[in-house]
Symmetry: D2
Subunit: 309 residues, 4 copies
């Protein structure tokens, strides 16, 4: 290992936005409070293994891409980011399930709850997704939306009034808060290393993540990580976000498609019971549908013409 | 290490209550789903270090007490408990801050939210504590309580109606839930090792913990851990829950009290600025007040007669 | 969630081998001490999200495969395994880097070190790999191996004699051990949940893992996990171990190969600088070589005939 | 929470020693590579709970002391330290058992092992402790030490020669290293938050920790943490390192001593079977002996005159 004195690492592009809030949703934000490390620290840590000095420039990019590709995660743990976030509590509930971060949250036992709940404009009420039981898809028409937003205002107003009445009556804050809406805003310091942050982003930028947390994840990724560790961010996008993973069966289908053509691939899919109905129909449908999505991403035509006749 | 075949460990006293819900609050519960290990496993793990077979009986108790006293936590990690809990979400928010457990929670993205929120009887509205900014102390009178409970009913009813209206309009469950009260019930499987469980209990059975989570912690401790690992539970109570820790200054005060009597102890406290006012008055008050509490626990009279003249 | 009383889960196939040591290397072993959960617990935890009872049989397999495919890891955390292992310390050093397990190791501060070090038969000395700087490849001839094994015996014997001399002179065990060989055996209890265990296995069964730890990982996987949670094990093999992940560039090459044929794919690879030399030659070689391996796994012919002319 | 832009936190006293190696043992060192946060960040995080701006100066010290006293650990997690260390592998084995740090270690699979093993001067061979089965106590005489150091040289030389012979024969580095002494030096980057670091230090600065790791812990504490977060360090020493914890029985003995005098305290100890022999003699001796140590720390005379008659 090198024994030169390194000095603290600074990333000017991140220093430029230190403390600046990036707005998310109607009243939320994300901002950088402090950080440790950079792309350079990742390289430095990876090179511990080689017992050699650091080679600069293009080699760094290649090395970082290799590390991401091969899931060598420990060098990314050498980078640490500390954010200040303002988030609706129902979104924060999902956020906090990631157990690998350090957290200090605004306490509504000590202090009066933040006087803001997330409001939904009339055009932003989302339909329940039909294919994905946990998701949403498309928007309700504005007329219905107006009514829903009006009722939202009513319930939020009543909840806040009741909260204030309790405080005025001398009720403890820890108890008074119990009927505030789940979407009441909270704030927190959230500190995490880059390896765990990328894992968080891969799950929360994903299309199945709820829209609200996805907006936060995208802001953290696109506005912050991209400036902080641009090489790691690029590699993460190329080899994780945009990668496609093929199961044994999918590899087999692809091979058949390549070697023997579309008709043989259809027969192969039939033999896997991906096309024909049966008692397990809907299930096998699922895996076929995932494969169709992967083919679409790769720009390869689905041999069974987007579904069996 | 011994190489005999051990077989799975069973604890009949815990088997007896497997699956049985212990009620907590108006609609919550805690019940054991499964477990691994026992007092015996703790002893077995501790004795790995000695390379010897297990001595039975009284020696086990002595060893477990030694381990707790000296914070040798790893043998307790060999025991694992899996609970099914039903908890108001605002209580669950505190619970989930303990990052060392495995969790699978009921999803209100997939499913309709549980139709129950924690309700407060008229006599159970608690006053804000004056000395402890985050706590509560005493109860409001019943007349005021009746009004507060009535308003609680109103806000919970409206929130549920609004939730149902949204679902009927086709709004996605993930969005519809946003204005439900924080005290809406949720359910989860929660799995944790005994070392981390004891740490959780030491924080959440503590008098400064919010009453709601304290009731859950006490149920887990008194009803479940006491049956599962009685020796560990006894040692935990003797050496953690009921222990008193004295700082350097407190040791010095105690020594003065013992050797030179109450008057000298008062002079000592004065020299530490614990009794006299000054710009730091309220602060030093705090540490003195903690010491007074410790003396009370130990049954030793406070030399300055419960406060300076 | 269901409120029926579940009883503890038992897996007869695993009960059959409880306590039985599976030998690894010349003197090591792995054996199951206890466990919690099964395939059924994974399904049970996943279905918490649905608020429904458990559907049996084929649906369980489909659900578990879905969970593995989509990296929904928390249901697998509901299963816990406790092993007793005997491992050379240099192998244990790699093992213990996985921070998510509970560990109680034999202490050579308390006890005399285990009188066994891993020995290498004359035919098992491995050559340094040329392409992979951290690996090995092929075996030295027996004549050289005989000499190396003889010298191994010498150094192990001297190290043990010196250790014993120190103990006889009254030196503390914690200090006496300092010159024992790195490959001295140790023993430990090692407890981990199934999600983290599968992650451990995916890294340590991998071809780049050192042979010694790979033998342990394969024993744990093939002998133990396969009996304990056969559905999870099957899904893990199909969707993790045998899966192939394609980067953006690899997807693009595959599409070109499929749509426009081998010659176009070669031109594409050239445009990516994967085939032509340059200052970054060796590096791009790396990613090309990985792609060639993936094509081989999928049974697809490499369009540039296993390398540029 | 405040929304002012904070800028990165710098600690000039720590900047002064950035990169500077503090020597430990014959060839080891510890040096700071980077850090995040300071005493100020702890205060800032703690005040999130209050929803107020930061009050300066004396109040900070008081708040930090309160946090340490009451085991409010999360604000300390906002500080992060990254070290470069050089440590004998047998010491590193103990170090790495703390699972809460990020680690990148020098790889002897990739690179030739560092050509240094910890050597023991003739006067530094330690006797096995009699009372504490895992410790050491006092030194062997120089004559015996000379012989032991000479034999140490022999075994280290042979091990290194054998290692080199293997490399020359083309044996893979991952296999060649297997008979190097446990005390061969390794190097690593080690990154940890302040809360976990203080926990590490409390265990490894403790008198029962092995001398080698204690020297590293003391260097990290006294040379680094003391400069980095002086208020946290001071509070840690006053309320953790120098604190005394009394069990229920010990409190009772102390009360008796204070209220009724030494003779009554002796009778109390007898009733607890701490003084009289019996089948559990040695065990109760243990707890009595711990209490005697605590009395000594507090400067209180042992009522049974340092042992029963």
């Amino acid at each position: 290992m090198t024994t030169d004195s390194p000095g603290r690492i600074h990333v000017p592009a991140l220093d430029d936005i230190l403390g600046k809030p990036f707005p998310v949703l109607d009243s939320g934000f994300v901002r950088v409070i402090d950080y440790m490390g950079s792309d350079e620290s990742i390289v430095q840590a990876a090179r511990v293994s080689y017992g050699k000095g650091t080679k600069k420039g293009r080699q760094d990019r290649t090395l970082i891409r290799y590390l991401i590709r091969h899931h060598h995660t420990t060098p990314f743990e050498m980078c640490e980011l500390k954010l200040h976030v303002r988030v609706p509590m129902d979104c924060w509930r999902q956020w906090i399930r990631h157990r690998t971060a350090n957290v200090n949250e605004y306490s509504t036992r000590y202090s009066i709850a933040i006087d803001a709940a997330q409001t939904t404009p009339p055009r932003e009420w989302r339909f329940q997704a039909q294919t994905n039981r946990q998701g949403s898809s498309g928007f309700l028409d504005e007329e219905k939306g107006l009514r829903l937003s009006e009722r939202e205002r009513e319930v939020q107003e009543l909840a806040r009034n009741v909260y204030n009445e309790r405080l005025e009556a001398g009720v403890a804050r820890e108890q008074a808060r119990k009927d505030l809406p789940l979407c009441t805003y909270t704030e927190a310091y959230w500190k995490i290393d880059l390896s765990n942050l990328l894992h968080f982003l891969s799950l929360r930028m994903e299309e199945h993540a709820q829209m609200e947390i996805r907006l936060y994840a995208e802001t953290i990724g696109n506005e912050i990580v991209s400036r902080w560790c641009p090489l790691a961010w690029e590699a993460f996008r190329d080899y994780r976000v945009d990668a496609v993973t093929l199961s044994k069966d999918e590899q087999s289908l692809l091979r058949t498609l390549l070697r023997e053509g579309p008709a043989a691939a259809v027969r192969k899919a039939e033999s896997l019971e991906w096309l024909t109905s049966g008692d397990g129909k809907s299930v096998f449908h699922f895996e076929r549908s995932e494969f169709e999505e992967k083919l679409a991403i790769m720009g390869i035509e689905v041999p069974w013409q987007k579904g069996p006749p």
